[in-house]
Symmetry: C2
Subunit: 334 residues, 2 copies
DNA sequence: GCCGTGAGATGATTCGTTTCAGTCGTGAGA
DNA sequence: TCTCACGACTGAAACGAATCATCTCACGGC
């Protein structure tokens, strides 16, 4: 493996000069630079990032931990983050916690060992102490799609309470009275907030009943199972609307409804959350709360880099975007 | 930032002993180990991976470059790879080339600088020399979802020619005669092979016409645009079936067909490729060629680790899986 | 009392890069 | 002629962990 030393020898200069060619080309004479570059190409020299990092003390990478890589919402967030990070010469390390706090912790460990420039995380649990520890060690942390209860971290989120409320208000306006909220676990803050918003909207009208149907994860499968149980009930006890905690669950809910012979929106209305691309291509296109996924990702990187460049006296900032209701045939007949 | 030296001082031992506690616990006395571990917790010591790597010469990470993170097929591949890698203590660095050879090259550079343990790549282009260079520098390379023309690399692929052929044979059997293959660019091997397979199947029956409708990328949007142009033709020139290069394109094709007032499968049959989860939840559930995505990912890691542990005399291996036709309502009325 | 043995601990050295104080030589100004 | 400034380049030190040839010590055997 060829090192700067080899390049230096080949070009007849010192290692310091090779380093300058690589990092501060303005400090070196044109003719020297040419010789060094020729040697680099000749020998096939590739910088060793580990040595670079060791010297620098931190890496040029940013860790991103998402709840589910299979969810297009999060890949969109990742895309936004990656683009923004790339502009500043940073790269994104993507970790998938699959809603497991164990996996989440192991990614945090990994990222800490890598002396990552910072961590963007959509937490699976409420383990804020763990995050504080990371920050105490000098690694900035920004919460994604979630706010810190005590505002001790910067965050980029969408107002999930408002979103939950708007979704249920839409269902009420279109005539539904028995609404089921499908999703879980509530240890995921997004779920808890959307449910809270839904409850607020429901509580404003005495004739509206809101039922919480928990699931163990936010997947298509979970949506199918929970909804299948709902629609198997006697018609008099069956909800007339499902508000799903995210679009994967809502897709599952739609499948279960169709399998049971129900025809949305008449027999059952369905609202999802995230407005992933696939929500508009389903058998019955799904009404959903749209979130600006890529913008969330890029804003998170902004906040992170800001915090990283400032240091001690940094004041955490909360950015909150508003979700937007996208109405489709799963709630309103076309 | 606390280092092994600080831990050693706090525990009253040498740095070598701390390192032994971390890496070869069997060599150190129980009482010593306890003291060291206590010091580690006390001081909040976190190993510096850069220093570790520098010493070791290579990292415990494997780079994975995919064509499109937004495509669930690739996230499934990534999942499979990550799981398998994790079992051996490796982590996966996920890079998204977005079908751009420029982005692909920049990820390769990054991974080389990181002295990655190996690279799994679903190449966007035919730049094999670049890959050979990486391997010459000691970085094993395994091709994913694609075979090397000269078998000079190990690979895990699915027989796309057979897949393309089976898809078109299915269309012919169900009565279609004017078939459009939608997708591109053909510089992506998967596209070229699926098209080649389609042509073979079509050529076996004189009365079948196959038309190639290129797109610039494999996305829902591209599928919509290409198909919209097709269905806008006079009925006598309109194809009676679309074979899409992947499911994202087929979802786009379905949207365009519905928007034009056509009702699959009668007015237009549609076959996709990959059988992503969302293929069965579309307005008209999509017939698709299923590929064992997670298995592809884990097998690729297997081959990579095998090659990495052997070294020089390694013989590239080709693993080829067979795709499986999954018939749904987009080709056969229910 | 001596030697051999082996468990346990040591600490100097190494990995490859960046940085920075310092050297060298040239040319302008006094 | 001497000094000073400056551009160009040098090379040693430092980053933090892992390794391995050595060293220490206690104990058993004779």
């Amino acid at each position: 493996m060829v090192s700067v030393r080899d390049v230096a020898v080949a070009a007849g200069v010192s290692v310091g000069t090779v380093s300058n060619v690589l990092n501060r080309p303005d400090l070196v004479a044109a003719s020297t630079m040419e010789r060094v570059n020729a040697a680099i190409v000749d020998l096939g020299f590739v910088r060793n990032d580990a040595a670079r990092q060791l010297r620098a003390g931190r890496s040029r990478s940013i860790g991103l931990i998402v709840l589910d890589v299979g969810n297009p919402f999060f890949t969109d967030v990742a895309r936004g983050a990656e683009k923004r990070a790339g502009d500043d010469g940073f790269s994104i390390l993507l970790g998938n916690s699959d809603e497991s706090s164990v996996r989440e912790a192991s990614y945090l460990d990994l990222f800490e060992e890598q002396r990552v420039h910072g961590v963007l995380i959509s937490p699976a649990s409420d383990d804020l102490p763990r995050l504080h520890r990371a920050r105490d060690r000098g690694i900035p942390v920004v919460l994604v799609d979630r706010e810190a209860p005590d505002r001790s971290f910067s965050s980029v989120a969408v107002d999930d309470i408002a979103g939950g409320r708007a979704a249920v208000e839409h269902l009420i306006e279109t005539g539904r009275r028995r609404i089921a909220f499908v999703g879980g676990p509530t240890s995921i803050r997004q779920v808890a907030d959307r449910l809270a918003g839904a409850r607020i909207a429901a509580s404003e009208r005495a004739e509206v009943a809101l039922e919480y149907v928990p699931t163990s994860s936010l997947t298509v499968r979970a949506g199918v199972e929970a909804t299948a149980a709902l629609v198997a009930r006697h018609p008099s006890h069956r909800p007339d609307a499902v508000f799903a905690a995210n679009d994967l669950v809502s897709i599952g809910a739609l499948q279960a409804a169709l399998a049971a012979g129900l025809r949305p929106p008449d027999d059952l209305a369905i609202v999802g959350y995230d407005d992933i691309d696939f929500a508009e291509t389903t058998t019955v296109p799904l009404t959903s709360m749209r979130q600006p996924a890529a913008l969330i990702g890029s804003t998170a990187v902004d906040l992170l880099l800001g915090e990283a460049s400032q240091g001690e006296g940094f004041e955490p900032q909360q950015v909150v975007y508003q979700p937007e209701l996208v109405v489709r045939e799963s709630t309103v007949a076309s």
